[in-house]
């Protein structure tokens, strides 16, 4: 359903050259929910953009079963909403492009906005909303679109803990209900383990897949019990260690630097 083979991406601009992705190979089965974690600047966004076909890989291949049914939630939520459209129209527009009948559109938009807790703001413009609310509009847009593949780039970064928990459950129920394939980028290790069937861990730059983990928690999860499960704790510790390792391997003690390989020619 989603196949990435030997993906490599080098950014070039002027004399600066950054190897964002060195070589990535993995597959995501149809209807799978995979979480992606990795240090800041390791190339997660780049990977998602390549999968969505927004960025040309330097080499390697990406195959997506059904490109038409692909939706994406961008990390830069503030810039991905149309400032000239109201909240409702922002969510509605992709549906209109998909030629969804009017009545159905109305229903989808209302449902999605209610699900993310934004019922009542339909007529506001995005710039009249708080950061977290903007991010939720972007999520609602993706949800209403009923995609077959959903790419989410740190979608819950700007919302509070409680809302975040609600949205996590929303994503899981959506996934179970529609059988959608999801790639979910997050910084929150707990979130990755709680949500995913599988967690892909990326190394720091030059980026390869550091490790892969199958989350063998029961399919029915809830915030209270799942997170209290000792298996959950074991899994999150495993992910944490791998990420620590990824950092150390790059040889920088602080762990925050060095993910950038800049080659002046």
């Amino acid at each position: 359903m989603l196949e990435v083979k030997g993906l490599r991406k080098v950014y070039r601009s002027g004399t600066r050259e950054v190897e964002a992705l060195r070589e990535l190979t993995f597959t995501v089965a149809a209807g799978e929910l995979v979480c992606l974690v990795g240090p800041s600047g390791c190339g997660k966004t780049t990977l998602l953009r390549c999968i969505a076909g927004l960025l040309e890989p330097t080499s390697g291949q990406v195959e997506v079963g059904d490109k038409a049914g692909l939706a994406i939630v961008f990390q830069e939520y503030g810039r991905s909403l149309f400032p000239w459209l109201t909240v409702r129209d922002n969510v509605d527009l992709p549906l209109r492009q998909k030629k969804v009948p009017r009545a159905r559109r109305r229903q989808l938009v209302d449902e999605a906005l209610t699900a993310v807790g934004l019922a009542g703001t339909e007529s506001a413009y995005p710039w009249q909303l708080s950061g977290g609310m903007q991010q939720r509009v972007a999520i609602a847009r993706a949800v209403a679109y009923e995609p077959s593949v959903l790419l989410m780039d740190e979608p819950f970064a700007a919302v509070d803990a409680q809302t975040r928990a609600d949205l996590e459950d929303l994503v899981r129920s959506l996934w179970q209900r529609l059988g959608v394939t999801i790639m979910f980028v997050t910084h929150d290790i707990d979130e990755a383990v709680y949500l995913g069937q599988r967690v892909l861990m990326l190394s720091a730059s030059p980026t390869v897949i550091q490790d892969e983990l199958t989350v063998d928690l029961p399919a029915e999860r809830d915030q209270l019990h799942t997170r209290a499960d000792p298996r959950f704790t074991a899994l999150r510790t495993r992910v944490y260690e791998q990420i620590q390792l990824a950092k150390v391997r790059t040889g920088t003690a602080s762990g925050a630097a060095g993910e950038l390989s800049s080659a002046d020619r």
Binding site: Y11, R12, S13, G14, T15
Partner: protein, 263 residues
């Protein structure tokens, strides 16, 4: 070699092919009898006349005169337009106070001011400058005003929160934001200035290409007239190439330029 460097020759090639297409059209139209060749001579004859003109000294003096008037006029208009634009744009009261006057003065055509110019300066460089500056100034001013209004509120707040001085705000926030608009304004003004320089010379006989065009016109020397028009056009193209190059240099950070580099 970076993408931008690779792109440059190809861009030039595409541009040249566009010009070549125009030449071909002008060659074919009269030859096919679609227009009479005594009123629109084929390109080859125009170019021949251009060659003859280019071999004479007075022609180059005229080109020099026009370019001088153009350059001085444009420089004055740009400096004045940018300064006034930023001052007015940065101070809302001034903007509100001057808006009506600006809108009143702007549509007054330079050509209607010809008697005034002649009155003050005869047919000297001064006349040309007056009209050139008058016309080009508004182009820059309006663009700068729109540019200053386009400042990202978050960027403006950032500057305010870090207590930037007024000058710091202008220099580091207003100016870079307005810069793309200023470039459009300068490119607009550059050609308006050229148009006005030539027109003034044409009408009041100030020395320059326009005066030569007037002579060719009244003499019925059609190919020569077109040749001279071609010269003004080519000046315009050259000026634009220069403007584009500076723009690429100064706006490398801007969405419009960086998009192309990565493509």
């Amino acid at each position: 070699m970076t993408a931008a460097e690779r792109g440059a020759p190809r861009t030039a090639l595409l541009g040249l092919s566009g010009l070549a297409g125009l030449l071909l059209l002008v060659e074919v139209l009269p030859r096919a009898g679609i227009v009479s060749d005594s009123y629109l001579p084929p390109a080859s004859r125009i170019l021949a006349a251009l060659g003859r003109e280019a071999a004479t000294g007075p022609f180059w003096v005229a080109v020099g005169d026009t370019l001088l008037a153009w350059a001085i006029g444009l420089a004055i208009a740009v400096v004045a337009g940018v300064t006034v634009g930023i001052v007015i744009g940065a101070v809302p009261v001034l903007r509100a106070l001057t808006a009506s006057t600006v809108e009143f003065l702007r549509p007054i055509p330079s050509v209607a001011l010809i008697p005034l110019a002649v009155l003050l300066y005869g047919s000297d460089l001064g006349s040309t400058l007056l009209l050139v500056v008058y016309a080009a100034f508004w182009q820059v001013l309006v663009q700068v005003l729109y540019g200053v209004a386009d400042v990202d509120p978050v960027a403006a707040d950032t500057a305010r929160s870090f207590r930037f001085s007024s000058w710091g705000r202008i220099r580091y926030v207003l100016w870079p934001t307005a810069l793309p608009y200023v470039f459009t304004g300068v490119r607009l003004a550059a050609s308006v200035a050229l148009v006005l320089a030539v027109t003034t010379e044409l009408v009041i006989g100030a020395p320059g290409l326009g005066a030569v065009i007037a002579v060719a016109q009244t003499s019925g020397a059609i190919p020569t007239m077109y040749a001279l028009i071609v010269v003004t056009g080519l000046l315009g193209v050259t000026i634009n190439v220069a403007a584009r190059a500076t723009e690429r240099h100064f706006l490398s950070w801007h969405q419009s330029v960086r998009g192309e580099a990565s493509a």
